[in-house]
């Protein structure tokens, strides 16, 4: 292994690009981000990393707007994300300038993914250490959610999570995502927050949630609104636990 993980452009004998895999490890160290595609909304939620006492917390922005109708959250190296976001924003406007149409979600995801792939195949550069969740609405008002990773692949998802403990969140989403569960905006937001609460210490202060509606209006939820949903979710959890206890008690009798 030691000979083949130095240069990004070298395959290992068993067909691995180790630098890319190490980049994916870097992503797993980043704070969790979750994306849920609803019927007529898309929701992105991120775990807010605890800030130092003297730090201004509004300078930590993990959900970014690429264009009026495109939103992105990432997990991994923030500085790498900055570079990608800058180029993606320019591409969004450039596309509008040349073809008079806003980018489709697939186009901009493909653009970001191609950028990432280019860095896995050039000399002297390392891959981007971030995975992105790119979401928004196409021109025909269809909601979309895409995920990219450091290798430059991208896929469309109904709901996904990236970063620390992404596996746990994804498993939760697999169990709980149904078309009925995301029929309204309220339900979609609740599902996203509930999924994040699986791995984030409870408290609206630790979450940042962004909603984009089909008229391309973006809104970031206030802490108070998040806390309200968190309270509802926790109450439901308690009630569920209480009924389970009652059932097991009556069984044991």
């Amino acid at each position: 292994m030691s000979g083949y993980d130095r240069a990004i452009t070298m395959f290992s004998p068993d067909g691995h690009l180790f630098q890319v895999e190490y980049a994916q490890e870097a992503v797993k160290k980043g704070s969790t981000a979750v994306g849920v595609r609803g019927n007529n909304v898309v929701v992105l939620g991120v775990e807010k990393k605890a800030v130092a006492k003297l730090q201004e917390d509004r300078t930590v922005r993990k959900i970014c707007q690429l264009d009026d109708h495109v939103l992105m959250a990432f997990a991994g190296l923030t500085a790498d994300a900055r570079v990608l976001i800058k180029q993606a924003r320019v591409e969004c406007q450039s596309h509008k300038l040349t073809v008079e149409d806003p980018v489709t979600l697939e186009y901009i995801t493909r653009y970001v993914a191609s950028l990432k792939q280019r860095y896995t195949q050039s000399n002297g550069r390392r891959p981007f250490g971030i995975s992105c969740l790119i979401t928004g609405f196409d021109n025909d008002k269809t909601p979309r959610l895409y995920q990219t990773d450091p290798s430059g692949t991208y896929h469309e998802w109904k709901a996904n999570a990236i970063g620390r403990n992404a596996k746990t969140v994804r498993e939760f989403l697999e169990k709980n995502y149904t078309p009925e569960n995301v029929a309204t905006e309220e339900q979609t937001v609740k599902l996203a927050i509930k999924a994040l609460l699986e791995v984030v210490q409870s408290g609206g202060k630790n979450l940042e949630v962004a909603i984009m509606r089909e008229d391309s209006k973006l809104s970031m939820l206030e802490v108070s609104e998040i806390e309200k949903v968190v309270a509802v979710v926790e109450k439901e959890k308690e009630e569920e636990a209480a009924t389970k206890k009652k059932e097991s008690k009556s069984e044991s009798k």
Binding site: Q65, L66, D67, C92, Q93, K96, L97
Partner: protein, 206 residues
């Protein structure tokens, strides 16, 4: 041949542009919009070399959008006008200068004031209470010198614009039958009724 007129009052800016698109002796269109919305409260009216007008105004519009995406807030009218002028100046001494004359109009939310900037193809810029471009502009400047007051209402400004248009139509050898009128205030950009022959006739009888 083309005519742009703008006036900045206390709480709105009004910009009128003729709607004739012509090539040599042929009038291609008489309902052609010669302005572009740069953002919610910014408008740019452009005349000049056909093609340069579209190219330049769209380029500026997209760059202003990019600024908004990058920084989370929109450029003020003054900053947008500076950016536009700087671009014009940059291209002026290249092999491909843009031959466009502009009026940039906007509402600055921070200062709470509307603003109007005159810019020409040599990249000169002036912030003015009222301005105009084109041969027709020579006539409208006189009218505005005489009758413009900053405390006019929208209706009064529209009536004054009709006077300007009537003068242009009386004295300019080129026929410019229609003028589009747009107003920017703290609510945003609103298209007013274009000044056509019918509107002028109505106003005469009213």
């Amino acid at each position: 041949m083309e005519c742009l007129v703008g006036m900045q009052c206390n709480d709105f800016v009004m910009v009128a542009a003729d709607m004739t698109a012509a090539r040599s002796i042929l009038v291609k269109k008489s309902d052609h919009k010669k302005y572009l919305k740069l953002s919610d409260k910014l408008l740019m009216a452009v005349t000049g070399e056909s093609g340069d007008t579209n190219q330049f105004s769209e380029y500026v519009a997209k760059n202003i959008m990019l600024y908004k995406m990058r920084n989370g807030y929109e450029l003020s009218p003054a900053a947008a006008a500076s950016f536009t002028r700087r671009n014009l100046a940059g291209y002026l001494r290249s092999r491909t200068p843009y031959h466009v004359n502009l009026l940039v109009a906007g509402y600055d939310d921070e200062s709470g004031k509307p603003e109007l900037y005159y810019m020409d193809y040599l990249a000169s810029m002036a912030k003015l209470p009222y301005a105009s471009h084109g041969y027709g502009g020579s006539f409208t400047t006189s009218i505005l010198d005489r009758h413009f007051r900053p405390d006019m209402t929208r209706a009064q400004a529209y009536a004054l614009m009709i006077e300007c248009v009537k003068e242009v139509q009386k004295r300019l050898i080129i026929n410019l039958p229609n003028f589009s009128v747009t107003v920017i205030d703290k609510e945003g950009i609103v298209d007013m009724e274009p000044i056509t022959q019918a509107v002028i006739a109505n106003q005469a009888t009213a």
